[in-house]
Each structure stands twice: as C-alpha cells, then as structure tokens.
C-alpha cells in the first residue's frame, strides 16, 4: 500500500513539474516581445486604422477611416485642428511630420445635394501642400486637375502659432492690423501662390494656367464650355494684353 502511494505521489510530482514548466513556457511566449518580429499571414483584414511606424515608433503612414483619421502632426505632435475629417492615407516624413496625403470623401445630404472629393497632395518640407492632384465636386460644380504651388519659407508650425495668437486677440484695430500683416507677403513671397494649373475649372473650361510668383495668372491656354479656344497673355493686374485665337 505504501509503495502504491509513493508511486502515485511521484507521478503527481512529475505532472506538477511538467504542467508548471509548460505554463511558464506558454506565459513567456505569450507576453514576451519576440526578438525577431514574426510575419503574420492574414487572408483579409478589416481595420479602422493602420499605423505604419519605424522601429522606434515614429509614424510614417496612417491608413484610416474617417473617425480615426489624424489631424495635422509635426515632429510627432498634433497641432491645428482635431482629427476625424480625412479618411484615406496621411504621409509622414523621417521626422514624424506630415508631408502629404491621399484622401477620398463623398456623400449626399438629405436635401439630395452631394459633395465629393478625391485628393492627393505632397507638402513642401515643414510647410503645406505644393503638389495637389484633386477632384472637388460641390453638387456638380467641379474643379479637377493638377495644381502646383509655391509656399513661403516659413515653418507651418510658426504660422499656426501666429494664427492662434491672432485669434486670441480681442477684436479691434490692433487685431485687424495684425491680421493684415499676417496675410501680407513675406519679403516678396506670399504664404501660398498657385504657379500652375492643368485641368478643368468650375466654368467648364479646360485650362493650362501659368502664374507668377505672386500667384497671378500670366498665361492661359483654354478651351471654354462653348468650344472656343484661346491663348491669352495677361499682365500682373489681370488685363489680357495679347490673345491668340483660332482666327489669324
């Protein structure tokens, strides 16, 4: 009888040892971060947001639905307006600052009117967009094409800070003059100037538009909604100085 009990106890000890060891291994495997990141295979995933990050956690790309889309981020810190309005992809440079995006929206209101846009843009370093390829449609009023812009050599974070300071000022002449000064061109350069547009504008004209550094159109190739083709030279005040049409 004693030997039977002794054998049983030995067995139980062995059981206990094995199951404890197995448990430890399992717990370690479950909670330890693997040294070499594994590749996981999915056939299809549903996701509300994907963050593509560098090893140190720095954001390089966000792919997300509308609700989880980020607001502007510079050097890893949010600024400007809150997220939730930009479904699609937002790009980030090596320093974790936003530098472009590919977004798509479109919905019809209860009144039957719709608004829609598909937009891809690349930003100047630490500034706003300088290449914009987009389709914007407000219930049939469409603008679509490629836009190239100049941006001032002012970091966008500085501009946002200045803007926030302006907004905090009490209404009055001081605020008005400060606002005017903010909007004025920096030494010779406006905050933003469209240099080129290739596309179709809301008046249904097909257009190639070249502009000067202040953003004023100086050459316009167009075929308007009635099919009239023309090539116009325009001066800085917007006056057509020479027009070449289909008649010699």
């Amino acid at each position: 009888m004693d030997t039977q009990i002794r054998r049983d106890v030995r067995w139980l000890k062995l059981y206990a040892l094995c199951s404890t060891a197995a448990f430890v291994v399992l717990a370690l495997a479950a909670f330890r971060r693997p040294a070499t990141a594994p590749k996981t295979k999915f056939e299809e995933i549903d996701v509300e947001r994907i963050n593509v990050v560098e090893k140190d956690g720095k954001l390089r790309l966000v792919i997300s639905n509308r609700d989880r889309s980020p607001g502007p981020i510079a050097y890893g810190k949010p600024f400007g307006y809150p997220g939730g309005s930009r479904p699609g992809m937002i790009f980030f440079n090596d320093e974790g600052s936003e530098n472009g995006g590919l977004t798509f929206t479109g919905k019809q209101g209860a009144d039957g009117k719709y608004s829609s846009s598909v937009h891809m843009s690349f930003d100047q370093f630490n500034e706003d967009q300088v290449i914009v390829l987009q389709y914007v449609d407000e219930n049939g009023v469409q603008r679509k094409g490629l836009q190239i812009l100049d941006r001032a050599n002012v970091p966008i974070l500085d501009l946002v800070k200045q803007q926030e300071a302006l907004q905090a000022m009490p209404a009055g002449p001081a605020k008005d003059s400060a606002t005017k000064k903010f909007m004025e061109p920096r030494p010779g350069e406006p905050l933003a100037a469209q240099r080129l547009f290739v596309g179709r504008d809301p008046s249904k004209s097909a257009l190639v538009l070249l502009s000067d550094k202040m953003g004023h159109p100086r050459m316009r190739l167009s075929v308007d909604s009635l099919g009239k083709a023309s090539l116009d030279f325009i001066d800085a005040s917007g006056k057509v100085t020479r027009s070449i049409g289909d008649q010699p």
Binding site: I5, D8, F42
Partner: protein, 253 residues
C-alpha cells in the same frame, strides 16, 4: 489515514488531468493560425510593413516604413540598388503580375548636416523598365522642383542596367570604378538606351512655372514659361536648343 491520503491523491490526479487538458487547448488555440477564409478585424494596428500578395504568394504591394522598404525587384530578381542618395523614403511599392516592381508612392524628408532634403513621388513604370510617369516634389535646401514628368524609356529590360550597376557598385572606389560607370553610360547612349523626358508640367528650381514638350531624344522643342520675374513666353526650339520663334504678351504680330 491511508484512505484519506488515497482520496486526496485521486482528487489531485483529476485536477491535474483537467489542468493539462486546458493547457493543451490554450496552447493549440494560441499558436495555430486562423482558419482559411476568415477575416480578422482590428480597431487599430501598428505595423512596420504590410505585404499584399496573390494567393500563390506573389507580391503585389508593400506598404512599409523606410527600414523595411523592399529592394528593387526586376526580372524576378532582387537588387539592393535603392536609397543610394541617403533619402529615407517610406511608402508603397507596386508590383506587376510577374512580381516585378512597376511603380510606387514614396515620401521622405529630414534635416541633415547641410540643411534638409525632402521628396515625395508617385511613379508608374514602363513594363520591365523604370518610371514613365512621375508626379513629384524634390527639395534640397530650398532648391525645389515640383511637377509631372512623362518619360520615354528604352525598349531593353532594365535588368541589363541593374546587373551592370551591381557590378560597378561592387568595385572599390577609384578611377577604375568611375571609368566603368562612364563607359556604361556611353554605351547606353550609343545604343539609344537612355531615357527621354517628353513632357514636364510644373515649377523649376529657377522659380519659373513651365509646360515643356520635348522630342524623342528628350530635347525641349516647345516651352511655355512664366519666369521668376513674371514674364510670360512661348518658345519654339530647334534640336540644338536654339529658340527659333518666341511669343510674348507684348508682341502684336
């Protein structure tokens, strides 16, 4: 006493059996892959790279950070030829039905000892060749270009170039290496295997905005420009780069 002991031992055995059973179930369910045909739902995930593959494993798209950006794949072979300029791009790389790279959407930008460098590009490649459409922004310390490029590419597969480039890269730095690179370029010119820019629409580092149309050799033949001073001009050029006719806003002819 013995009876009591035996009962306890029996109970312990049962408990142990149940525990081991549970452990097996947990381990198996933890390490076994999801069944095929299932979709997995996440609220939000952090990832360094996503590979989109065909069912047979062929790569169609990578979405990745810079560190995991894939090597160039041409002719079914990988070439570590990316990032020679030190730009740390992240983004999307596209692959065709044969698993060869055929485009991408990548971006980068950071300060360095000389100032900063930034770029962003969407490119579509000619079959078995390099980019034939490129929409991009490039900026080195305010030396900026942004616009749309359309290019002709040679008919020969880019793999020929990739093999030579790899051989040159493996050589020690020095005059021999430079000479080899120069000869590679000359040979490509001689057999007409150089790319030719056919169209550019955008802004140039000289602060002009321009529409440029070029011939099959990549020579500008028609140029619409508004320069940094706001002067608008249309120029026709011959094959040696001489302006043969020029229209401005002040002519009346």
């Amino acid at each position: 006493m013995d009876d009591q002991l035996q009962r306890e031992i029996r109970r312990l055995r049962r408990t142990n059996a149940v525990a081991v059973g549970l452990l097996v179930i947990v381990s198996v369910s933890a390490f076994v892959q999801a069944r095929p045909g299932t979709r997995t739902k996440f609220d939000e995930i952090d990832v360094e790279r996503i590979n989109v593959r065909e069912a047979d494993g062929r790569l169609r798209l990578t979405i990745s950070n810079h560190a995991r950006l894939p090597e160039v794949v041409v002719g079914g072979k990988s070439y570590p030829l990316r990032g020679g300029t030190g730009v740390k791009s992240a983004g999307l790389i596209f692959f065709n039905d044969e698993g060869n790279e055929d485009g991408g959407l990548v971006w980068a930008g950071s300060r360095n000892s000389k100032g900063y460098q930034a770029s962003a590009n969407l490119t579509f490649d000619q079959f078995d060749q390099d980019e034939t459409i490129s929409l991009g922004y490039g900026d080195e310390n305010r030396h900026r270009q942004a616009g749309l490029d359309v290019l002709d590419r040679p008919e020969e597969p880019i793999q020929i170039f990739a093999e030579s480039a790899m051989a040159i890269r493996a050589m020690p730095d020095g005059p021999a290496k430079q000479e080899r690179a120069r000869r590679l370029q000359e040979a490509a010119i001689a057999r007409g295997a150089m790319p030719a820019q056919r169209l550019f629409v955008g802004k140039r580092p000289d602060k002009s905005s321009t529409v440029m149309l070029a011939d099959r050799m990549g020579r500008a033949r028609l140029r619409l420009t508004v320069d940094s001073l706001g002067v608008a001009r249309i120029e026709f050029l011959d094959d040696s780069g001489h302006v043969t006719r020029s229209l401005t806003g002040s002519d009346t002819r």
